[in-house]
């Protein structure tokens, strides 16, 4: 690689960003074509994918060396001190080059080789089939049909080829409507609720300006409302704040005039735009990254960032949509400006609240494929996959995942997947390791031949789905089409520590109930099998030695009702590990930096105990 001048630097220090005592790990830094790797003196490895790097910063030279701070898109921040300034400068320059990619073909996905053969690769891409998904929802049917209008991306470049529209919407109506909508994104079906016969449709803003009308567009909306036999009224949700929508009118865009459309109820829901969201997250990260942060500064900083308020706005919008469908059986048309950010958030969260399928592991993949990938959420621009306009970067998808996480906190038994699943998806949206999220729309993905040249993430996640299963999941909790009704009172929105501090180990509980229960529930399955096996063996033995009338034997052939307590001879000894210099721990103010590793080491030496001490989150691969 022409960008790499220094491939290995020794005697590099890795600082803990929250340590007050400036403790550090000494190790060696390696620079590869795809990763930055740090191996510390105890052989622990820290891998950082170049694509994950959001910013590299060289701080002023200190007595111990040249500090290099790397911020990642998965919110990891690493702080190295390189002894020689020259090395630091080389690495800095290399990372600057390597983390900025000009062409898609240079992304990791195109070189990543998971040792799958071609048919596995093809099968992997076929895992999620959206046609199958629409069939599951119940379309096509008497009112909805598959349209071939966009078969060659002629009407809308950023939409998928296959689109579902009301049967009564003829091709001229579609074409006319698309001309009246920003980027040609005309109203199409996103989700069909088969019990209510109501639909979630999505589009972009109309080019109404101050007074423009379009008969085809009006017909299109009428067709949608007529496709719903249970309620002829339909809602049109503009997910933007009213002021923004009005400002758009000056540019010849805007929102629907209720007078021109029959049977519509128009509603603004006030989610802010990508720029507000970007700066909100920026503020949040500034606060959470502060060293020696006081509780007051944290809470007021969290409040001032507005981040949780935005999450609440997104969920509130989804709740509004869901109520229209579940309570009034009314269809809803959702749009924002271009219909690929806020619209994707609201449509997908709405469907997740309405349909329990999306709360399963496979269903969640389908949901992301449908409302985000196929409908053209601009992953490449929003996640800055290629070196481009920084104003296009925005954490819209992160907000979606965070909204889902908030729901999992409110409904611990409603989701088949756990937090690690959400974090892993977030990781790979930015990693560019798999082809799914590359590019901005389906047309672009086809041109890049991603299905031939890269691999799909989903089969890999399914393979290791044990890691992502929620042990408390209760499928009976939400039978098909059971509605989730979240409470969006502000105190239900919490700071997502495991997202924003995933790699700051000292901040997480040292014993994680969730992982423990996960292991236990896994173990229970194994134990059930063991019992079957043992019972068979005992039966066999009993058969063999049945001739011998041993008293003890007879007793054991009919075991007494199981006591909960293990017999004394089997009782495990409690590990009693002496703690050195224990009084040190009176301190309290900041957790010991490398104390944790001692803690784990001490524990793992002991006889295996049910309690294992671990971090809140499973380790993520880079």
């Amino acid at each position: 690689m022409e960008h790499i001048r220094t491939t290995k630097v020794e005697q590099v220090k890795l600082l803990d960003r929250f340590s007050t005592s400036n403790k550090s790990l000494m190790g060696t830094l390696y620079l590869t074509a795809t990763h930055l790797l740090f191996i510390d003196s105890s052989q622990r490895e820290t891998w950082i994918l170049h694509h994950h790097i959001a910013a590299v910063e060289k701080l002023p030279l200190t007595t111990s060396g040249c500090p290099l701070v790397i911020q990642c898109k998965n919110f990891r921040i690493v702080h190295f001190v390189v002894p020689r300034e020259r090395d630091c400068h080389d690495i800095y320059n290399s990372l600057l080059q390597l983390s900025r990619t000009a062409k898609y073909e240079e992304l990791y996905a195109f070189s990543y080789n998971p040792k799958q053969n071609e048919s596995e690769q093809v099968k992997g891409w076929q895992l999620i089939d959206l046609a199958e998904e629409y069939k599951r929802m119940g379309v096509p049917n008497a009112n909805w049909q598959l349209s071939d209008a966009n078969r060659d991306y002629k009407i809308c470049e950023t939409y998928p080829r296959e689109l579902y529209v009301p049967r009564t919407a003829s091709k001229p109506i579609i074409v006319g409507s698309s001309k009246f909508r920003s980027k040609g994104r005309f109203p199409v079906l996103s989700y069909y609720h088969k019990n209510k016969e109501a639909a979630i449709c999505r589009c972009s803003q109309p080019l109404s300006g101050f007074s423009a009308r379009c008969l085809e567009d009006e017909h299109m909306l009428q067709a949608i409302s007529k496709a719903n036999p249970s309620n002829r009224y339909m809602y049109v949700m503009d997910t933007r704040p009213k002021l923004n929508a009005m400002a758009n009118r000056a540019a010849g865009k805007g929102y629907e005039n209720e007078d021109n459309y029959s049977n519509i109820r128009f509603q603004f829901v006030g989610i802010e735009n990508i720029h507000v969201m970007r700066s909100s997250l920026q503020k949040l990260l500034e606060v959470s990254g502060t060293k020696g942060l006081s509780v007051n500064d944290f809470l007021s900083g969290l409040e001032n960032s507005g981040w949780l308020r935005h999450i609440k706005a997104v969920l509130d919008a989804a709740v509004f949509l869901v109520k229209a469908i579940a309570v009034e059986s009314a269809s809803v048309l959702v749009h924002c400006s271009d219909g690929w950010d806020r619209t994707s958030q609201v449509c997908s969260l709405g469907a997740l609240l309405l349909d329990s399928y999306y709360r399963t592991i496979k269903g969640f993949m389908v949901l992301i494929e449908k409302d985000w990938i196929s409908f053209g959420h601009k992953f490449s621009d929003r996640c800055c996959q290629l070196d481009g306009d920084p104003k296009e970067i925005s954490p819209v998808f992160t907000q979606f995942l965070e909204s889902v996480w908030n729901l999992t906190e409110q409904f611990p038994q409603a989701f088949e997947y756990n937090e690690a699943f959400l974090l892993q998806i977030h990781e790979h949206v930015h990693s560019c390791q798999f082809g799914n999220f590359l590019g901005n729309c389906q047309k672009e993905r086809e041109e890049l031949k991603l299905k031939e040249k890269t691999y799909s993430l989903w089969p890999f996640l399914l393979d290791e789905q044990k890691k992502y299963q929620n042990p408390l999941y209760n499928a009976d909790f939400s039978p098909e089409l059971t509605l989730l009704e979240p409470n969006t009172v502000s105190f239900n929105f919490k700071f997502w520590r495991n997202m924003y501090h995933q790699f700051d180990r000292s901040m997480h509980p040292r014993q994680c109930v969730f992982n423990l229960i996960m292991n236990m529930s896994e173990q229970n399955k194994q134990l059930e099998e063991d019992i079957k096996e043992l019972e068979a063996k005992v039966k066999q033995r009993n058969g063999q030695s049945s001739a011998v009338p041993v008293k003890e034997h007879q007793q054991s052939a009919h075991p007494a009702p199981m006591a909960l307590k293990t017999p004394p001879s089997f009782k495990k000894e409690q590990p009693l590990i002496p703690v050195n210099d224990a009084v040190r721990t009176i301190e309290g103010s900041n957790t010991a930096d490398n104390r944790y590793s001692e803690f784990v080491a001490e524990f793992s030496k002991a006889e295996p105990a049910v309690v294992s001490l671990e971090y809140g989150v499973a380790r993520m691969t880079c």
Partner: protein, 532 residues
């Protein structure tokens, strides 16, 4: 005084009770000397609400026509609303509640009238005696002694009759030290760390005043606790500023020059293997928070139910935290006095934070902490009455009231407070105090403000997974043992056959030991398979 005088309207019908997340219920309201009782008449779902008057923090009344409404805000942070038809009834009831919830005399409180309906297995008043504590200490060190200097509460009114002090300091010296400390709270032992012999002491501030008064005995006492060459820390829980201001009022802090082995620090607590002396101003509030939290972090015993109870008794009740003053009112009261403060609740919140970070290291669960919070503010038991042991002995609480511990430490109650994830570990559990790691204690602060059905169900599911796991493990173990026995029996038969054939074998002992080996093997197998 008769309670009847305070109750003009003892009963009202057609009262409607409103609570968040519940449908309004109609029923009858009754007032007794210590309780407000609401019972619904509904046949299908008869329901009774009993509320201790002492739990009521504030009360508001409103009228719409002749329908009166009383809003009752409780010390446990619950808020209920009662609609009472009839203006006079409503006014009477409101004024009765107001009077009964603010009784002046302690001896009129419910604990003096409460007659337990349960069988007392162990008298809580006789648990956690200082002598037992000292016995434990004596097994580890002989540098400390039990002093009865405060037998009649004559030296320090807020200390218990017996305290633990350095052996080398006699009672005469203690008397002098007491004169030099605020409220006579001379330094006493709070905790002895057996692993390295370091100690934690607590006291109140020294009365140095503006001209830097000294006390030789005080210096001698504090220095006596350190071995030569060792250093200690004096942790002043106040900021330096506040400590300096205290000098003007006769208080102050230790001059390092006079305590050569000690370093004084304000607020922030450093790390090092060293002994500490903790004090604030009076040594009855933040001092106790610090010493008791330190023990929870250091001492695994304090993380058991009994150990925690003992800690509350030692470091809060006997150490003279003025419960009666601090818990007289709570968050909703309009007439808060300056001595009211949620110091104990803050301590419990800290414990909850640690419990959340180390969910497997505590024998008790969140409910246990919530129970202690409730009883500290309003209770049928005498445990938290009075401000110190002196007052408690004058009130004859032991004779006249029931101890909270007598009730809690019965298996029926204990089972509610046990943490199914508990696995004792002797480690120092070091919590993260980063603001991102701290959370709102929802179990207390949102308890009445949100429906918790889904969270409760999830919690039950979790417990059932744990229980099932234990059952399965027991079953596997039993089966393995059974199998091992069967194998041994087979082998014995084999042996027998050999013996019959004339081969000499010390049958009895060998087979027994063999049995043991086999089952031990089975045991190892189990655990490696399970945890591997």
């Amino acid at each position: 005084m008769e309670f009847a005088e305070l109750i003009k309207t003892p009963r009202a019908d057609n009262v409607v009770l409103h609570r968040p997340f519940y449908l309004a219920v109609e029923g009858t309201l009754c007032l007794t000397g210590h309780h407000l009782i609401f019972s619904s008449r509904r046949q299908d779902n008869a329901e009774e609400l009993w509320l201790l008057h002492s739990n009521i923090d504030s009360i508001e009344k409103r009228f719409v026509g002749s329908l009166g409404t009383i809003i009752i805000k409780c010390k446990d942070l619950r808020i209920i609303q009662l609609d009472i038809p009839g203006m006079e009834e409503c006014l009477n009831i409101a004024s009765s509640i107001e009077a009964l919830s603010t009784l002046d005399s302690v001896t009129l409180m419910y604990p003096f009238f409460y007659r337990p309906m349960f069988e007392i297995v162990e008298d809580g008043w006789r648990c956690f005696l200082p002598d037992e504590e000292f016995e434990l200490l004596s097994s580890a060190t002989d540098e400390w002694r039990l002093s009865c200097i405060n037998k009649e509460f004559s030296v320090c009114p807020s200390y218990p009759p017996v305290v633990i002090v350095p052996k080398s300091i006699d009672d005469e010296a203690l008397r002098k030290v007491a004169m030099f400390r605020h409220g006579s709270r001379f330094p006493v032992l709070s905790y002895y760390h057996k692993k390295n012999g370091m100690v934690m002491m607590r006291s109140s501030q020294p009365l140095t005043g503006t001209n830097g008064r000294r006390c030789k005995e005080d210096e001698k006492l504090i220095n006596a606790t350190l071995r030569p060459g060792k250093r200690g820390y004096i942790i002043d829980t106040r900021s330096l500023n506040v400590a300096q201001q205290a000098r003007a009022k006769g208080g102050g802090f230790e001059q390092e020059a006079h305590y050569p082995q000690w370093r004084r620090i304000h607020k922030c607590i450093e790390r090092e293997g060293a002994s500490v002396l903790v004090h604030g101003t009076e040594g009855t509030d933040s001092t106790l928070q610090v010493t008791s939290l330190a023990q929870i972090i250091l001492d695994p015993r304090c993380r058991t139910i009994r150990g925690f109870e003992s800690l509350v008794v030692r470091e809060w009740l006997q150490a003279g935290h003025p419960f009666q003053q601090r818990c007289a009112q709570s968050a909703y009261s309009n007439s808060k006095q300056k001595w009211e403060a949620p110091v104990f609740l803050l301590f419990l919140d800290c414990v909850w934070q640690i419990l959340r970070q180390f969910p497997c290291s505590f024998e008790f669960n969140e409910q246990f902490l919530i129970m202690l919070f409730e009883h500290a503010y309003a209770s049928q038991f005498g445990t938290f009455l009075g401000n110190n042991e002196n007052e408690r002995s004058k009130l004859k609480l032991q004779q006249k009231t029931m101890s909270l511990w007598s009730w809690v430490n019965r298996s029926e109650e204990l089972s509610k407070f046990q943490n199914p994830l508990f696995e004792a570990n002797s480690l120092v559990i070091w919590p993260s105090v980063a603001p991102q790691s701290l959370q709102l204690w929802e179990g207390v602060f949102l308890r009445w403000n949100r429906p918790s059905k889904f969270l409760d169900e999830a919690h039950e599911e979790m417990i059932s997974i744990i229980k099932y796991n234990k059952e399965l493990q027991a079953k596997v173990n039993a089966l393995r043992r059974q199998l091992a026995q069967l194998e041994t029996v087979d082998r014995m038969q084999e042996n027998l056959r050999h013996t019959q054939l004339g081969i000499v074998s010390p049958l009895g002992s060998s087979s027994v030991s063999k049995l043991h080996t086999v089952s031990a093997e089975a045991g190892t197998l189990t655990s490696t398979q399970l945890y591997g």
